[in-house]
Subunit: 271 residues, 2 copies
DNA sequence: CGTGATCTTGAAGGGGGTCAACTGGAGTGG
DNA sequence: CCACTCCAGTTGACCCCCTTCAAGATCACG
């Protein structure tokens, strides 16, 4: 009965229109002005004279590899990436799925070596900025300095949120939190916050959340059975955004948090 | 038979001498020069004229609270803190245990609001720097700008390491990794890397690692039984540093990592 | 249309959470 | 000084959620 919402517009890959949103359509030469506008900086004086190169990255292509020398940072203009950290034992931990307005390669600003890899999950494009130029530009353009600092802080805040989600939280709740974050990010990138296409495979989500891919699959099923969303492979439609947010707020160790969304209480009710 | 190493010097709280290590003993007025020297900056010209206030924090006292307005960042001169993030459901996630040369409050540099709290786990002291002054100082003193950026990058790298440790890693391995990091940090702060006193309770470690405090307790027992360390409440002595590092490198999902330290193989052998 | 990924679903087993009891040290006040 | 309380830490027992192993179903792509 609920199926129709997805079937219609899904899977006929409409990768057509998520391109420059607030920018002139693909200028021949890019400058720092474009970059600062993308990042939402307020004071952009003097930025128009600084040229900035743009790079396109194909699906599956690596923007940079772990262990490689870092000579640039990257501002995502469009598309989606995954960043992953491989331990020496070979285990791959997916850290994040950066998209528009996210900055990649910041973790190497000081060390000069990338401690993670970034791989494009779809056709994407980034502004490339040489690390060599960062200190000088920071001094000349306060707005740029502010942008970099903001990006670092946001990256830090994201990781903190990530850590909090991984400990002491049931599988379905982790997935719910992930979807809430993703939904907000999609909206920010100019897409629909309700219905969107996952760019990553289940295994990537699983690694990101610290679960097995089977459990992710099952958790999708649980959230669907609760009426919070619809899934069909990569296509997701959030039927009850507020309900999902409420569900995402619950903890495993919650014991008695009066009233609203206790996860397992709701699970029992749905069965 | 191994007991003696701990019993002797333990628990007669020698909190006396872990105070200024490379600094003149407690100057009446502190300047940015002291701060930059603490952080290991190379070029300190012009820093001596900028006054910096110092603040002492007692055991159990909060340096700042979550949700409070952030008007300063803090450079730890001596002591130990814990940083924790409380979700709205009341669950407290311990993020880290910062010590000497760590910087606190960075996550609020942009937002202006602390997204975590910092509590002293012993008598500690920090340099206080008003956020208001950061942009101007960054512009005037490149070394300071570099210091801030380095601190942000390091914080980011730490959290990445943290995330990687929380997913897909057995309890004893998480604890081993934690102890390896802690040992390095102790050495960095001028203490012994082999024998040290834990400033935090088991529950804090548990939260930090995403485990229950009972499991942390048991994991200590396992590592002790393996002959890697000795524990007696807060007092820890690493008997086999290299062995611990090797153990810390193993993963749960490791399957076949030829030869060295597979955790459960070693556990079976020890039983 | 066939081959290999991706995804789903089922069944079984174990790691670690939870509950509970006990010990020991620290602080308090009689 | 000792009884009392409180909290940190340890240990045992039980059980559940999630991982693992396995098989099928569906999709992507040459």
């Amino acid at each position: 009965m609920l199926h129709s919402q997805l079937k219609n517009t899904a899977s006929r890959r409409d990768d057509s229109r998520h391109w420059p949103v607030a920018l002139p359509r693909m200028p021949a030469r890019n400058t720092l002005l474009d970059l600062l506008m993308l990042m939402g900086a307020d004071d952009t004086t003097g930025a128009a004279e600084v040229p900035v190169t743009m790079r396109r990255v194909n699906l599956g292509e690596a923007l940079f590899h772990q262990g490689s020398r870092a000579d640039a940072i990257y501002f995502v203009l469009a598309g989606t990436f995954k960043t992953l950290h491989s331990s020496d034992d070979g285990y791959e931990q997916v850290l994040d799925f950066p998209g528009r307005t996210d900055v990649l390669g910041l973790e190497a600003l000081c060390s000069g070596v990338h401690t993670m890899a970034a791989v494009a999950l779809e056709e994407s494009s980034v502004y490339v900025l040489a690390i060599h130029d960062v200190p000088a530009l920071s001094r000349r353009l306060p707005a740029f300095d502010e942008t970099i600092r903001q990006a670092l802080c946001r990256a830090l805040a994201d990781r903190i949120e990530h850590v909090s989600s991984m400990a002491a939280v049931a599988a379905e709740v982790r997935l719910a939190r992930f979807l809430v974050r993703l939904s907000a990010r999609m909206a920010n990138a100019g897409h629909s916050a309700r219905r969107f296409r996952l760019r990553m495979v289940r295994r990537d989500i699983a690694s990101h959340l610290g679960l097995s891919h089977e459990t992710v699959s099952r958790s999708f099923g649980v959230l669907a059975k609760l009426g919070l969303l619809e899934v069909e492979l990569r296509e997701v439609c959030l039927l009850d955004g507020d309900g999902l947010k409420a569900f995402a707020r619950s903890t495993r160790r919650s014991g008695e948090d009066a009233g609203t969304a206790r996860p397992h209480a709701r699970l029992a009710a749905a069965a």
